[in-house]
């Protein structure tokens, strides 16, 4: 085992598609482009490709950094690289910015070819299934008939699960991490609060704020603050912030008093400075719509009968956004179909965010799983 290393300097690539993409909403993208990054080398047999799907605020930038921006490190850099659990000496790893995203793929902040103006709110609704379809076309473009594995956490895990249903013959292994087979009413409720924060921001302008030279930063900030609460556990928040006071005493004002307020405002402001509000709206809707069992009378076992991949399902004990019970629903549905599946409930205090950490047992388990994939 070599010392785990970074993949180093990376650069995004772009693929343009002229074949129309029919969307679940009934809409269509006549043409579109995807921005993606790759790490490692596609082998001669073309059987060592691993697709990593991103979550709500993620991107195609999984690992390494940019030559002109050394501090912009990929969001899953602790997992991906030479000697890391997803070892780029063995695998050819791909990250794709999803359609509707705000990191360069066709989306609200990109130009609508039909009008020459930015899409804004006119960008069509996209679903998890649409993303998977577009990712499959990118795989075609790269000459990848079948992925060794498709993996993802949270919303990325939903894409990985959907891959196993939409293209069962094109994926050998699937890792579904900190995900759920569908959102609960409570999950949708949190998303709705986030959306309302954006939609009611006076600077939203019906989603065409670019034309007004403004961004609905207050709404996006609030949305992120609500989201962030759900990413952390009660315990981790208590441990990190407790009731710590900024000034050591109550000041009887609406300025920051408790440290948790400071933290949420900081996270909200930071996020509003780089993320796109239309993408946030679209992506939360994609989360809400995801429900592969819907077409099977609500039966997840019936929905997963099509899957044939080897599965790894991982939850985290303190994740209440997508609780371990939600992961177990997936496990039992796969078991019902006699599919190969392993399941771990990782003891980690950090809540939903745990899936992004390099918790030792979590990464050791992923190492063991990736190691056993033959390429």
């Amino acid at each position: 085992m070599i010392q785990a290393q970074s993949v180093g300097v990376v650069a995004p690539q772009r693929a343009d598609f002229a074949e129309p993409l029919k969307l679940r909403s009934g809409g269509q993208l006549d043409n579109y482009h995807l921005v993606y990054e790759t790490y490692g080398t596609l082998n001669a047999e073309r059987n060592n490709a691993v697709l990593v799907c991103h979550a709500l605020s993620g991107s195609h930038h999984l690992a390494g950094h940019y030559a002109d921006d050394p501090h912009n490190v990929g969001w899953w850099d602790n997992l991906i690289g030479p000697g890391k659990p997803l070892d780029t000496r063995k695998f050819f790893v791909i990250g794709v910015n999803n359609l509707g995203g705000c990191y360069g793929s066709s989306g609200p902040n990109q130009t609508n070819p039909a009008t020459g103006k930015l899409w804004g709110a006119d960008f069509p609704f996209v679903t998890v299934e649409d993303w998977v379809e577009s990712q499959a076309r990118l795989a075609d473009r790269l000459g990848i008939a079948r992925f060794a594995a498709v993996v993802g956490g949270s919303l990325g895990g939903m894409q990985a699960l959907s891959w196993s249903l939409q293209f069962p013959e094109r994926v050998g292994h699937v890792a579904v991490i900190a995900a759920a087979p569908k959102l609960t009413a409570q999950n949708i409720a949190f998303n709705e609060v986030a959306r309302q924060a954006i939609l009611t921001d006076p600077e939203f302008h019906g989603g065409h704020y670019y034309e007004h030279g403004v961004v609905p930063a207050r709404g996006l900030k609030l949305a992120r603050m609500v989201g962030h609460i759900t990413y952390l556990s009660d315990d981790s928040m208590a441990e990190k912030f407790g009731r710590s006071l900024r000034h050591g005493r109550n000041t009887y004002s609406y300025d920051v008093e408790f440290e948790i307020e400071s933290y949420l405002r900081y996270q909200g402001d930071k996020f509003a400075g780089y993320f796109d509000a239309n993408t946030y709206l679209l992506t939360t809707k994609a989360l809400d719509y995801f429900d592969p069992a819907f077409d099977y009378g609500g039966s997840l076992p019936a929905a997963l009968a099509r899957a044939s991949a080897d599965f790894l399902v991982i939850s985290f004990t303190t994740d209440w956004r997508f609780s371990p019970e939600r992961s177990r629903e997936i496990v039992y549905a796969l078991l019902h179909n006699k599919r190969n599946v392993s399941y771990a409930d990782i003891d980690c205090p950090a809540g939903h965010d745990s899936f992004l950490l390099d918790e030792a047992r979590y990464h050791a388990l992923l190492s063991a799983w990736f190691d056993r994939i033959e390429v």
Binding site: H336, V341, S342, Y343, A344, D347, A364
Partner: protein, 196 residues
């Protein structure tokens, strides 16, 4: 726990090719891997220890993290052909609960355990010391075992719980014992079903 793998051979003989098998407390997955290789079973292990779970994953078997003390919640009635618990029953608190669960989700259960009535163990107690042997390798102060029972005790428990003993093999450190198993055998392996 590597010394007693001869119970694996017995268990393999009771499994038909292609069966659905659940192995409770599967450890590093050695038994399941063996059953996959010699019986082509569709096998699943259950393990709650993170290190063993990881070892099972590395070993290429399916393993589900679950706390057996809470039963087999979520698993379907009668789904498995055989539910196995190899040398783990004595380390569980909820003995009756897990036996009931094994026969709920499985057509048959296979259970092996160390016999505390083995003559060497009795001799040890007579000499005033808790037994330490090949089948009971731990000292009293670090043993994972929490239930101390004999073959005779287990037979009574099965009777009490409406569990049919379909077959029983007993061993003295690997050699088959045909007579006086409760005295001469260090380990017993049972094939159990629901009494009609």
């Amino acid at each position: 726990m590597t010394a007693y793998r001869y119970d694996h051979e017995v268990i393999a003989q009771w499994i038909e090719p292609g069966e659905k098998v659940l192995d409770l407390g599967c450890g590093d997955g050695t038994l399941l891997r063996h059953l996959v290789e010699v019986r082509q079973v569709q096998g699943y292990g259950v393990e709650n220890d993170p290190d063993k779970l990881q070892a099972s994953v590395r070993n290429g078997i399916n393993v589900i993290q679950m706390d057996l003390e809470k039963g087999l919640v979520g698993l379907e009635d009668g789904f498995f052909d055989h539910v196995i618990m190899s040398l783990s029953l004595q380390a569980m608190h909820n003995t009756q609960g897990i036996l009931h669960e094994m026969l709920r989700v499985g057509r048959e259960a296979v259970v092996s355990f160390p016999n505390f009535g083995y003559w060497r163990h009795r001799q040890s107690i007579l000499n005033g010391r808790m037994p330490v042997s090949e089948s009971l390798p731990h000292q009293w102060f670090n043993t994972p075992n929490v239930r101390f029972f004999t073959i005779a005790d287990f037979d009574v428990l099965c009777e009490m719980n409406g569990i049919a003993v379909r077959e029983r093999l007993a061993f003295d450190e690997g050699k088959l014992v045909l007579e006086e198993p409760n005295f001469l055998a260090s380990v017993a392996v049972y094939r159990l079903g629901r009494a009609a």
